[in-house]
Every structure is written in structure tokens, then in C-alpha cells.
Amino acid sequence: MPKWAMIIDLDKCTGCGDCMAACKLENNIAIVSPEEANNGRVMFWMDMITMYEGEYPNIQIKRMPKPCFHCDNPPCIKVCPVYATYINDEGLVGQVYHRCIGCRYCMVACPYTAKVFNWYEPEWPEEFKVCFNPDVSVRMKGVVEKCSFCAHRLITVKETADSEEREIRDEEYLPACSESCPADAIYFGDLDNRESKVYNLSRSSRAFREFEDLGTEPKVIYLLKKE
């Protein structure tokens, strides 16, 4: 069984935010008005954390793309009262929108604050409504959603590989963020495959995971030169 994982090279990342835009379009994520976004109702599956370091005038800005970490030991699925969030054999953590009762316990339990909630009926400008991605279901108000590692793309890739009677090639299945990154900073692949790029990069001395001490075993690995 493959174990899908993402590597984000922070030394290469320019913080441009293209991954966020690609993700929003790929996954039919609702467009929230600026006022509501300022009230903390912004909806991103791929978020961007901005950290300011140092004192004025020597401020350093660090940016860090943050998708769902698809933990191997996910705190969110432990607390869900209705099996609306689950982890599958390939290590993808999914969300069943039609079963979710909207209690938001998973959002509370997630140490990475990776999930977002549909505070209102999702809305898009008219132009967007004609170009929804048909592979991704549109959510309804009152449910929790999050990054799926573009699992719908995996289905297509699997079907192609099956029809051609071969294994899935490395970097054949890429989520939208990884595909669109102009700096090539987001890698994606099978962590159990010793030939994959992701496997080799995960063993780099620059590799670290967020809050490793919590035992959640996230499958998003960051690369950053030690200073």
C-alpha cells in the first residue's frame, strides 16, 4: 500500500501563495467576503502561515504553506462522534460531508488548526459557478471541510494506471498545490517507495515535522536549512 506524503521545501518556497489559489480553484472552495474573512471565517484548505521575527526595523518575515497534515495518528478522527472523518489504508485522512453534523469537535482537537467550517451557505461569484471542478463535490453550510491531498486526482491516476496495466509512477499523482508551485517547492509521492523523491527528501537532514512530540505523525514534512 502506498503512503502518500507531501514535502514542502521552505528554502525554495517564495511565499507567493500560488498553492493557495490553485487549491481554492481545484477544490471548489467557497469565496468568503473580505469582511467575513477578517472575522476569521476565511476558507483555505492550503493556508499560509506568516511569522514575523525580530524587532523593527530588522523584521524577518517567514511564510509557511500549511495544508492538512494527514497525520498517521490523527487526533481529529479520534473525537468525531459520527465517523465523518476517517483515515484510509493509503494514509489519506478524509471527510464525509454528507455525514458531518457540524459539531466542530475535530477542528477543536486538531493541533494544526487545519480544518475550516462552512459558517454560511458557500458562495461564489457568478463566473466561478460555471467552471466548478466536476470531480469535487460542493459542500453545504454547517459542515467541516479540509485538504484532501486532492484525493479525486488519485482516482483518475489509478484508473489510468489500471487500464495501462502498470504501477503508478512517482510524481504521477500530484495535488493541485504541488503541480502549480512555481518554485517547485512542494513534492508529493509515496513515502513507502524507496525510489520516490519524497522518500529520499524525507531522510534529508533538513527535514522536520510540526510538533513531532505530540505523536500525531504528520505526513507533511518540511525542509529547512538549520541555521
Binding site: 479520534k78 459520527v82 493541533p111
Partner: protein
């Protein structure tokens, strides 16, 4: 026109009066309460219609007033059954006029509190998924289970000791005879019936204590089972139970003082009752402080960065006023008012109880919001202002409680009549015998 029911000859006539005489005050109170409830209902409908966006909740503060009030109301509900069961179990004779009121609080407030998680749901239409697809491993399901058990046990525990009183109302005839006839279950005051009833009450009273404790422990588990700093603590179970009993006693005292005034029960609820319960409140206040102190000292001494960040945020951040307000209301005010004989009058006890209820509400707020406002990951600190919808539903919850109590007092005596009679008839000899049996001396005295 129903004939006038005679009750003036009864020794406990004053306990029958609110049932058979309806003043203007009753209609005005019920009217105002119904208006508040309708307003809350309207607000809830807007929330269902537009989505939870009409509340002040956001990311990362995804839980707000509803969960705070849920924990708060369930805490208040511990007043009743637990206190009444403990007083019955310890054979405290002064319990007689208190138990019924305490149990009524439990039944009504528990129903209100138990509904709060549903108010909080994004998809209340899917609430039945809890039964069709429920995951018993989730602390929320533990909650559903234990609250249902507690609600069942405490309503039966309220109802059973009411049977002889309902039979009395049935025998008076007049209003609602069919209802009293049905509810009294053919009670004829025979020796056998009394024996069976006492047995049933005794069994329930033992059963209800662990259930009550489990309820608030499990509510604390909702928080402590997550990895969030400020929540992930083993002390939470007992801490919540102590806080629940603490706020419960305070609510009971407020209700007793109000009923005493409204229903002229000065003869039944005497100063001694308030002082005994006041002492209990003082003990709980000290216990609460002990738990709070241990909780924060452990955090500060270990100074794990995330934990420390939240503690400092509570002490000095935008919620500091609520934190220090909680310490003032839960510890300083009650200890001063209840610790000195001079202040321990009924007015003093009333003020202390009001302070405690406010303080315990603040405590729930201090647990829920600051931990969520400071996510572990480096996101901007969240801020939460409850919206008018959340305030409306909070007011609505309180209004439902008062309305429930007012209506209860219209149909049933709020002080157990038969237990008061039993106290008059049997308690003195019984207590005398019991005290005799404690004293050193001949074994034959005790049975």
C-alpha cells in the same frame, strides 16, 4: 366553573396555596418569559436558516457561548439530584424542605443543558446520525450516554417522592383530577406502598450519585481528551465535578431564597437551612480554589511553552478581566461573605450565591475560549465576541428554566408535603433513637 377547593384547614396550607390560587404576578411572569423564549426561538431559526455564521464563532475559536453554557447549565443541574441524594443518604433531617426544589432544578436545567450541543451543531438536521452512525469512541458519545442516563435517573428520582403528594392533590379533587389520578399510580398511603416507595427511593438515591459524578467527569473529558494546551489535564474530571456541585449549590440557594420570598415559605425554609447550605458552599469554594491553584501551579512550574503561553494569556491577555473576575466571584467574595458570622445572613448568602453562579460561568468561559484563541501553530491569536443570537439563546435558556420552575410550582407542591408531615411525626423520635445509639452505653438501646 370548578368549585372552590378547600385547603385552609391543612397544617401545610401554605404549600397548597400556589397550586390553587393564581395571582396577577403569575401571568405577568409567564408572559415575560414566553416573550423572551419566543425571541430566542426566532434567533435560533435565523441561525438554522443562515448558518452558524450569525454567531460570533470563527476559526480558531470554533466553540463559544453554546459550549460554555452547555457546561455551565449541566454544572447547575448537579445541584439537585446529587445534593438531595447525599443529604438523604447522610440522613440529614434538615433536607426535608430542600430536596424537591433541588431535584426540580436538575430535571429542568439538565434538559436545557443537554440541548445546548444541538444548538451548537452546524447541521442540527443530522443529529440522529449520533444514533445511526454513532462512534462510541468519541467523548461526545460518552456525553450523550451519560446525560441521557442522568436525565432518566433524575426525573424518576424527582417523580417517585412526588407520588404521595400527587395523591393528596388527587384527593382534593377539582382541577386536573385526571392528571393527578394518572400520576399518583393508585397511591393509597398504605404501609406496604410506603415501604416499597422508600425502598425505590433508596435504590435510586445510591444509583444517582455515580451517574451524576460521571456526567460532569465526561463533560470534562470532551476537553481533556484533546491535545490542546490548557485542556489536556488529568485534573479536569474532579475539577469539573467540584465546580458543578459548587455552582449547583449556589443556584439552589438563589432559588430557595426567591421561593421563600414569593411563596411565603419563611416557616419552612428557615435561617438554619441557609446557614447549613452556606457552609457547604464555603467548603466547595475552598475546594474549588484548591483545584484551581493546583491546576495553574502545575502549569506554571512545568512551564511547557504552549501551556505557559495560555496561562499568561489568561492572566494578562484580553480575557484577564474574566479570569480575575472569576477568582473574585468564586473565592474572595464567597469566603468573605460565608466565612464571617456577621455577613452570613440570608442577604449575605444570596449575594455570595449570585457571585458564585457568575464566577462559575466565567470559569467555563475561561476554559473554553482562551485555549482555542491560542492555537499551537503560529496563527494570529483569535478573538471572540458573542453575537446577539448567542446572547438571545443564553437568555432563552435561563427563561426556560424559570418558566419550567414557575409552571412546576403551579401544578405540584415545591416542598414535599408528605416528607414534612413525616418529619413532624417521626423524625424527632427517630433522631433521638439514633443519637442514643451513638452514645456509649448499653447495646440494647440501639436496635
Amino acid at each position: 366553573m370548578p368549585k372552590k377547593i378547600q385547603y385552609d384547614y391543612e397544617t401545610d396550607a401554605v404549600l397548597y396555596r400556589p397550586i390553587y390560587e393564581t395571582g396577577k404576578g403569575f401571568y405577568i411572569t409567564v408572559g415575560i418569559l414566553l416573550l423572551i423564549i419566543l425571541w430566542a426561538l426566532f434567533m435560533y431559526i435565523t441561525q438554522v436558516w443562515f448558518g452558524l455564521g450569525v454567531t460570533g464563532m470563527n476559526q480558531p475559536i470554533t466553540w463559544g457561548f453554546y459550549i460554555v453554557n452547555f457546561v455551565f447549565f449541566i454544572g447547575i443541574s448537579h445541584a439537585g439530584t446529587l445534593i438531595s441524594a447525599i443529604l438523604r443518604l447522610s440522613k440529614a433531617e434538615w433536607r426535608r424542605p430542600i430536596t424537591r426544589m433541588a431535584e426540580v432544578i436538575t430535571a429542568i436545567v439538565l434538559a436545557i443543558g443537554g440541548l445546548h450541543p444541538i444548538l451548537d451543531l452546524g447541521r442540527p438536521d443530522r443529529v440522529l446520525n449520533l444514533f445511526t452512525a454513532g462512534r462510541l469512541q468519541s467523548p461526545l458519545l460518552w456525553d450523550v450516554t451519560s446525560i441521557t442516563a442522568y436525565f432518566t435517573a433524575s426525573t424518576i428520582y424527582l417523580y417517585l417522592p412526588m407520588i404521595p403528594d400527587i395523591a393528596r392533590l388527587r384527593d382534593k379533587g377539582g382541577k386536573l383530577t385526571w392528571l393527578y389520578n394518572f400520576l399518583s399510580w393508585g397511591w393509597q398511603d398504605t404501609e406496604h406502598q410506603k415501604k416499597v416507595l422508600n425502598r425505590a427511593i433508596n435504590i435510586l438515591m445510591i444509583m444517582v450519585i455515580p451517574i451524576a459524578i460521571s456526567v460532569h467527569t465526561v463533560i470534562s473529558y470532551i476537553f481533556s481528551m484533546t491535545l490542546q494546551p490548557g485542556w489536556h489535564s488529568t485534573i479536569f474530571g474532579p475539577y469539573f465535578v467540584v465546580g458543578a456541585i459548587f455552582s449547583g449549590i449556589a443556584a439552589l440557594l438563589i432559588l430557595m431564597i426567591a421561593s421563600r420570598k414569593v411563596f411565603h415559605l419563611e416557616n419552612y425554609l428557615k435561617k438554619i437551612h441557609f446557614q447549613y447550605l452556606g457552609t457547604l458552599l464555603l467548603i466547595m469554594s475552598l475546594l474549588w480554589f484548591y483545584f484551581t491553584f493546583s491546576e495553574y501551579l502545575t502549569g506554571i512550574f512545568g512551564s511547557e511553552p504552549h501551556e505557559m503561553h495560555i496561562i499568561l494569556y489568561k492572566f494578562t491577555g484580553p480575557y484577564a478581566i474574566f479570569f480575575w473576575g472569576m477568582i473574585l466571584c468564586n473565592f474572595i467574595i464567597p469566603v468573605i461573605l460565608l466565612g464571617f458570622k456577621r455577613f452570613k445572613t440570608i442577604t449575605g448568602i444570596l449575594f455570595a450565591s449570585i457571585a458564585v453562579v457568575i464566577g462559575m460561568w466565567l470559569e467555563r468561559l475561561n476554559i473554553v475560549v482562551p485555549s482555542l484563541a491560542n492555537p499551537r501553530i503560529e496563527l494570529p491569536i483569535g478573538i471572540y465576541f458573542p453575537s446577539i443570537v448567542e446572547w438571545a439563546l443564553f437568555m432563552g435558556g435561563i427563561a426556560v428554566f424559570i418558566l419550567g420552575y414557575v409552571l412546576f410550582s403551579k401544578f405540584f407542591p415545591i416542598i414535599s408535603i408528605w416528607e414534612t408531615e413525616e418529619g413532624r411525626k417521626e423524625a424527632i423520635t427517630e433522631v433521638e433513637e439514633r443519637i442514643q445509639s451513638y452514645l456509649p452505653g448499653d447495646e440494647t438501646i440501639s436496635k
